[in-house]
């Protein structure tokens, strides 16, 4: 996998067509089509808002909590969708792999990109919320794309690893489902991290070492309110709050190598 080849002309053409196809086929046969990309997080948001904000009165100490909550839901939704699509990408394109020779990572990238497109559609809704909610516009907002970049690299790492493992072991899908279920509660999405902080500072610090949690909090800090408790705020020591970034960097390298080693045999095994 020479780096110069990753986006050679042929690969770019292929990637583009695969993404377009995925996107066209996604809402085949549904009356509302792409609108579902927006409706899904909004409906989930409505449920969580009613349950947690109105009944349980969580988040009253966080300014602009609705936007804060929605941003968390949207980012988490992206993480779930992209890793699941990445995991199934190789197997579902088995037909192609058995018949032509092309770099397999293109399939993983195309699977995650269609989730990325969905994420961008969702940002439209978030920005409308930001305007309605009267969130003040700050220069930190410009840092937001970096948060997405970090999350996307982490998603790619997981997708490369799961995508290759899923070819060999279909159990991976069930394991990942459970892991995601657990991670949903380990990431401060529906509850503010301050709720954990009250009980144990160490627990809160540990939760924020998870790259997904760190990205979600940083994104909220940049986009919604500077009162968000981020990893760097909570963990003073820069060597420790660098851990999530190190996890992301190390996992993309390991997953990339694992994928490369296994991709030679996809055509036989898929």
């Amino acid at each position: 996998m020479k780096l110069s080849n990753i986006f050679s002309r042929r690969n770019r053409i292929l990637l583009r067509e695969l993404v377009i196809t995925d996107f066209k086929l996604r809402y085949q046969g549904s009356a509302l089509g792409y609108i579902w990309s927006l409706l899904k997080p909004l409906m989930l948001f409505a449920i969580l808002y009613v349950v947690f904000v109105i009944f349980l009165k969580i988040g009253s100490d966080v300014p602009h909590y609705p936007v804060y909550l929605l941003l968390g839901i949207v980012l988490w939704g992206f993480f779930v969708e992209a890793t699941n699509q990445g995991m199934q990408a190789i197997v579902s394109r088995g037909d192609l792999i058995r018949k032509i020779n092309f770099p397999k990572y293109i399939i993983i990238i195309s699977g995650t990109i269609s989730a990325l497109i969905n994420l961008f559609l969702n940002f439209i809704v978030i920005f409308i919320f930001i305007l309605i909610n009267g969130v003040s516009l700050r220069p930190e907002m410009l840092l937001f794309p970096l948060n997405i970049l970090e999350l996307y690299i982490f998603v790619l790492a997981i997708a490369f690893f799961l995508g290759a493992a899923y070819v060999k072991y279909r159990d991976v899908a069930y394991i990942w489902e459970v892991v995601l279920q657990g991670a949903f509660y380990a990431v401060p999405i529906i509850y503010p991290i301050s709720m954990v902080l009250v009980h144990s500072k160490l627990a809160a610090q540990l939760l924020l070492l998870n790259p997904v949690a760190q990205v979600v909090q940083d994104a909220r800090y940049n986009l919604v309110t500077d009162q968000t408790i981020t990893a760097s705020k909570l963990i003073g020591n820069p060597f420790i709050f660098a851990i999530p970034y190190i996890i992301v960097a190390v996992s993309i390298i390991i997953a990339g190598l694992y994928f490369k080693r296994n991709s030679k045999y996809f055509a036989e095994k898929v």
Binding site: R16, K24, L25, I100, N101, Y169
Partner: protein, 393 residues
């Protein structure tokens, strides 16, 4: 490594596959196998020490019966599989047609599929825009391009796929029995295209079990049997070897047939009709009978039938594999002229999958028919041979 004229050099190539004993794509099975110190798979050697080279401008044939390893060799040449040992050097760009219409999606329109398939061959949108009209024209599908592919007949799909495929301008073309699809008119189009490419001096590798097309197109060929090259050289020599190997196989099979145990026959329907399709079981000498066979097992793609006299003499037998005809769908009709002596006969039917021993269903005593003696054809003996008395008044 490559000589000046050589475009493909294959050296000491080995390929084997691990065939799992049972469904072992789960972690549990792996753990169980590990604990029992048992390999969960069997190593099957598909190609053994294969070496050959192809020169620029050659039309090179690779022949072998089903399961001989020729398709694996093709996938190795196309880079889809990796060899276990040995090397493949390729000089120039290579387009493999393992199958026409790779990546075709039934939910997309014809137009969208053209662009998708084109991208798989390496064409950008702009390039496809330029070629689009000529592709559609060649496929003769102008009216259907905005319909979903699933509404196309299989012939239409193949036509569309082929029209895109021939746009690929690479140094080496690899074809896997694509000639075997489509109707006569389409096959003519394919044939014309190959002749044209051949005249242009393009290097073409044809992988097939159809000896006739090897003799028709190829300048040189190799024959593969059980993973090794057993004959190579000019197509005539290879064709002779091929036919010889096939005949031995057929004889072996006839004796294997006797040993078959009767299968469950609920899923198979057979009956005889006359040539108009009316169910009938008595005929006159010289009439034609249609034997209709229908089955449910998807794996069945070959059929054979033998006409057997009540007393046990086999009159005539053949099957689709020997005769290189392909069955599409799950039924077929077999027409036979009943140039045999009057009497009671029955059909012995053998349905099977890709190879002679795959998914075999044997019907020892199928539909029986009565052949009546007709007034103007009173023959004696087993068969009624075509004959004429000469030098008579």
């Amino acid at each position: 490594m490559l000589g000046s004229e050589e475009v493909i050099v294959v050296k000491d190539l080995f390929k084997s596959f691990k065939l799992p004993h049972e469904q072992s794509t789960g972690i549990k099975q792996n753990v169980v196998n590990f604990l029992r110190r048992k390999k969960g798979y069997e190593n099957q050697e598909v190609l053994r020490d294969v070496s050959f080279s192809i020169n620029k401008g050659e039309f090179f044939g690779i022949v072998g019966r089903n399961g001989s390893g020729k398709s694996t060799l093709l996938k190795l040449l196309a880079g889809i599989y990796n060899p276990n040992k040995g090397s493949i050097s390729i000089n120039g760009s290579l387009t493999p047609f393992i199958e026409l219409g790779v990546g075709f999606n039934p939910e997309l329109t014809g137009r969208e599929n053209v662009y998708l398939n084109g991208a798989l061959l390496g064409f950008s949108r702009t390039e496809m825009n330029d070629m689009y009209d000529s592709i559609v024209e060649f496929a003769e599908l102008e009216r259907f391009m905005d319909q979903k592919l699933r509404n196309y007949s299989s012939g239409m799909q193949v036509r569309l796929a082929f029209s895109i495929a021939i746009k690929a301008e690479s140094d080496i073309l690899i074809l896997d029995e694509v000639l075997a699809v489509g109707d006569a008119e389409f096959q003519q189009k394919c044939s014309d295209y190959f002749e044209k490419q051949k005249a242009k001096g393009q290097t073409i590798v044809l992988v097939t079990h159809d000896m006739a097309s090897v003799q028709k197109y190829c300048t040189r060929a190799i024959m593969i049997e059980d993973g090794s090259i057993i004959a190579s050289g000019n197509p005539e020599t290879v064709a002779f070897e091929y036919t010889k190997a096939n005949q031995i196989k057929i004889e072996n099979n006839l004796s294997a047939q006797q040993a078959q145990t009767p299968p469950d026959l609920h899923d198979i329907k057979t009956y005889t009709t006359d040539t108009t399709g009316k169910r009938l079981s008595s005929f006159d000498v010289g009439d034609s009978v249609l034997l209709h066979m229908e089955w449910k097992n998807e794996a069945i793609c070959n059929a054979g039938a033998a006409l057997i006299k009540q007393s046990g003499e086999g009159m005539f037998a053949t099957n689709t594999l020997i005769e290189n005809v392909s069955i599409t769908g799950k039924s077929c009709d077999y027409r036979l002229s009943l140039d045999v002596a009057p009497g009671k006969y029955f059909f012995k039917i053998r349905l099977f999958g890709k190879t002679e021993n795959d998914n075999v269903t044997l019907i020892e005593e199928g539909p029986s028919i009565l052949i009546r003696a007709s007034k103007n054809n009173k023959v004696d003996g087993l068969v009624s041979l075509d004959h004429k008395w000469l030098k008579i008044k």
